[in-house]
Subunit: 408 residues, 2 copies
C-alpha cells in the first residue's frame, strides 16, 4: 500500500485552502511517519479505507471517539431515529434529561450532568465551576498534560498570551511533593486541582495513577475546600464503566470531564458533578449553539447501553493484553528493546534509545504498508469492534515489521 | 396552549440532574416569560412541537442554526449519505477539502478555511491567529457584544478571572472615537479588532454597522499591521451570501468566524481567512475530537447550495419586511409604542418605556399561547422555511396580543 494519485491530488488541493494543508492532531504531514494517508473515504467497524482504496485496521479509533466500531448499527439507529423527530432546535428534547439521569445512575460521584460539544468545553467549564464555587482563581495542572486546545491548555504556544496561563500552577503527575508545593504556591487562592485519569502525555511513558498521589490530591482539595477535577475525556469507559479514579484508586472527584467516546463518535461532551459544585455549576454561563442537540444524546444512551452490555473495559483489556504480550515476545525475539506503558486498552509502544523516533516511525511505516494503522508517540485506542482475529492479523504484521527493522 | 403535565414531570426530573434545571441560552426558567415550554419532541420546517403536543411557529430557529427549515430533506440526505461512509474517524474525508474550496469560492475575503464545532471555537481561534500573526496580545472588543461563552467572552462573570479579560480593550460599537481610544490604549501591542456583523447585543436596540466606523476599523488594523476579525457567527447568510461587511459596508476583514446556520443545524463552525493570516493560522494549535466530522461538512455543502439557489437573504428580507410592517401598523393602531431594530431578517421588537420587560414579556406570553414562539429581548431569526402564510398567521396572533395588552 502506498500514497497514490488520489491522495496526491487531494493534498495539493488541501494545501491551497486549509492552513498548512491540515491542522491540529489530524495533520499527518506534521505528526506522522512517511506513508500515512491524510484522507479517508470509508470507516466501518475497526476498518478505515483511504482515498486510494487501501484499508487499515485502525488502532486510533478517531483518537478515541470510536469505541464500539464505526457505524455501529444500534448507535446509528438511535441517532437517526432521534434526528427524524428533533435534533438542533430552539429547545432541548426529553432525551437530554434521560441522558443526565443515565450518567447520574452510572457514575458514582455524579449528582448532575451538563453537556457540551468539545472535550475542551467540559474541561473549561470545570475550571469555571471550581472558580465560581470557591471564589478563588488558581488551578493546578500537571506539566505536559493535555486538556484541550483552548489558549489555557494548548500544547503549542502560538497565539497564547501570558495572561492565558496566569491562573495556573503546575505539578508533576504522581509526584506528591510537587503537588503539595503547587498547592502551597496557590495558597488561599486554590480553586481546584485537575488530574488526568492516568498520565497519557504524548511522547513519554504513560503511567497509571499512584493511589497515594490520588488520595493526596483529594485531601488537598478537602483541606482548602477546593474542587477535584478528573479529566476523563481521553480515558473514559476504556478503563472502567464508572469514573476511572473511582474504581482504580478509590478516589472520588467532585467534577469529571467526559468527551470523545461517550456517543461513539457523535459530537457530545459532558461535565458530571456532585452536589458540592451543583450551585456553582448553575451560576456560570456556558453554552453553545449545538450543545443541546438531541441526536448525539440518543447516540450516547445507546452507547452506554452497549458498553455496559459488553463489559467494554474488560473486553478491550483482554484484546489489549494479547496485543501487548505478543509485541513483547516479538520484540525480544527480534532483538528490539521496547517499552509498553499505560493501560493495555490504550497502548503506547516506544523503542528504547529512540529520542528522535527514528525507530518508532520506521516501525509504523512498515505497519501502515501492511494495513495496520499504529501511532508512534500518542497512545492508541482499542475498541470493542476489534477482534482476536484482528489482533492476530496485527501481530503477523508487527512480526514482519520488527524483522524489517532488524534487517535495516 | 399551556404548560401541561408532561412538561411539569420532565421539569421536575431535569431539576434533579441538570444544574438549575437547564443552563445557558436554553434555560427557559431564567430567560423567558411565563408559559414558555422547555422541552420539545418534534421540529419540522418552521414548526416546533413541545412535550405536551403544542405546536409553534418558531421565530428563534434554534437561535440561528435552522435557516432552511428543520429536517430539510436535501441537507438531511447529504448528511445521512456521508454518515453511511465515514463521519468522525481517524482522519478527515475529502468533503473537508470540497467545503474549504466552496467557502473560498463564495466568501470574497477568504483564501482558506478551518473548521471547528462551536462558534466560540472559531472566535477563539481568530484571537489566537491575530496574536500569532502580530506577536501582540491586545484585542479590541465591543462592550456588550457576544462572542461565545468561553471565559474571555461569556456575558456572566461567574467563574471568570481578571486574567481571562486582561488582554482585551473595549470600545462602543459604531463609535469611532471610542474605537480610536481603545486602539491607542492597546498601542504597540494591538493584535486585532473584533467586530460583530451588526450590533446584536441582547436587551438593547440593534444597529447596522456605520460604514465610516467599519472603514476606520480597517484603517486602524492596517496602520498597526493588526488583524480585523468579523464575527459572523450569528448573522451569517441571513444578510448576505458573502461576509456581511463585504457587501453591506464594503470593508473586507482578514478573518471571519462562522457557525450556527452554515450546515442548517449540523454542528460545525468555521474560520475563514486571507493570505495575510494564513501562516499564523498554520502556527497555532487548535483542534477537537469532532472538528473533522464529515457529515456536518456534507450538510454544509448542501446548505450553501440551497442558500444560493433560494437567494436566502433576499427571501428572508421580504418575509421580515412584511412582518415588520405589519407589527408597526398594529402597534400604532392599538396604541403601543414599539421599536423594531436591526435587519428585518433578524427581528428585535421592544416596547418603549419597558425597562423591566413587563410589556415585552406579556406580549410574548400572549403569543406563545397562540402558537407563536417570539423572544422579548434577544434578536429573533427568520428562515427560508417561513412562508407568507406563516407571517400572516403570526400577524393575526400579534394583533390579538397587542389588543390583549391594550385591555390589561
Amino acid at each position: 500500500m502506498s500514497i497514490g494519485e488520489h491522495h496526491r491530488a487531494l493534498l495539493d488541493r488541501a494545501t491551497r485552502v486549509i492552513p498548512g494543508g491540515m491542522y491540529g492532531h489530524m495533520s499527518v504531514q506534521r505528526m506522522m511517519p512517511e506513508g500515512y494517508p491524510q484522507f479517508f473515504t470509508h470507516a466501518h467497524g475497526n476498518r478505515l479505507t483511504d482515498v486510494d482504496g487501501n484499508t487499515y485496521i485502525d488502532y486510533m479509533c478517531a483518537f478515541g471517539p470510536m469505541i464500539l466500531g464505526y457505524g455501529h448499527p444500534r448507535v446509528a439507529a438511535a441517532a437517526a431515529a432521534q434526528r427524524e423527530q428533533i435534533d438542533t432546535a430552539t429547545g432541548p428534547a426529553p432525551v437530554m434529561v434521560e441522558l443526565a439521569e443515565r450518567f447520574v445512575g452510572q457514575i458514582s460521584h455524579a449528582d448532575w450532568a451538563l453537556f457540551g460539544k468539545n472535550g475542551n468545553d467540559a474541561t473549561t467549564a470545570c475550571l469555571m465551576m471550581a472558580r465560581a464555587r470557591t471564589s478563588n482563581t488558581k488551578v493546578l495542572l500537571a506539566k505536559g498534560a493535555y486538556h484541550g486546545s483552548q489558549p489555557w491548555a494548548t500544547p503549542i504556544r502560538g497565539g497564547v498570551t501570558a495572561s492565558d496561563r496566569a491562573d495556573f500552577v503546575y505539578y508533576e503527575y504522581n509526584d506528591i511533593v510537587s503537588l503539595e508545593k503547587a498547592a502551597a504556591e496557590a495558597g488561599d487562592d486554590l480553586a481546584g486541582i485537575v488530574v488526568s485519569a492516568f498520565k497519557h502525555d504524548a511522547f513519554v511513558d504513560q503511567a497509571m495513577p499512584d493511589p497515594a498521589f490520588a488520595r493526596r490530591a483529594r485531601e488537598l482539595c478537602d483541606a482548602a475546600d477546593a474542587v477535584l477535577i478528573l479529566d476523563e475525556v481521553r480515558a473514559g469507559f476504556r478503563l472502567s464503566l464508572d469514573a476511572s479514579w473511582s474504581t482504580q484508586v478509590g478516589v472520588q472527584p467532585d467534577l469529571s470531564a467526559w468527551g470523545k467516546c461517550i456517543a461513539n463518535g457523535e459530537p457530545i461532551s459532558a461535565v458530571l458533578g456532585n452536589d458540592r459544585v451543583r450551585e456553582a455549576a448553575s451560576e456560570i454561563y456556558v453554552t453553545g449553539s449545538f450543545w443541546y442537540q438531541a441526536a448525539p444524546m440518543a447516540a450516547a444512551l445507546a452507547t452506554l447501553d452497549e458498553l455496559v452490555a459488553l463489559d467494554a473495559p474488560r473486553t478491550m483489556e483482554v484484546l489489549g493484553q494479547t496485543l501487548r504480550d505478543g509485541l513483547c515476545e516479538q520484540a525480544e525475539r527480534h532483538g528490539h528493546a521496547i517499552r509498553q506503558t499505560g493501560p493495555v486498552q490504550m497502548p503506547l509502544i516506544q523503542f528504547e534509545d529512540d529520542p528522535k523516533l527514528a525507530k518508532g516511525f520506521a516501525f509504523c511505516s512498515e505497519l501502515i504498508k501492511r494495513g495496520i494503522y499504529f501511532h508512534a508517540w500518542h497512545n492508541m485506542f482499542l475498541s470493542t469492534a476489534h477482534t482476536m482475529a484482528d489482533i492476530e492479523q496485527t501481530l503477523e504484521a508487527t512480526d514482519l515489521a520488527f524483522r524489517e527493522l532488524a534487517v535495516s
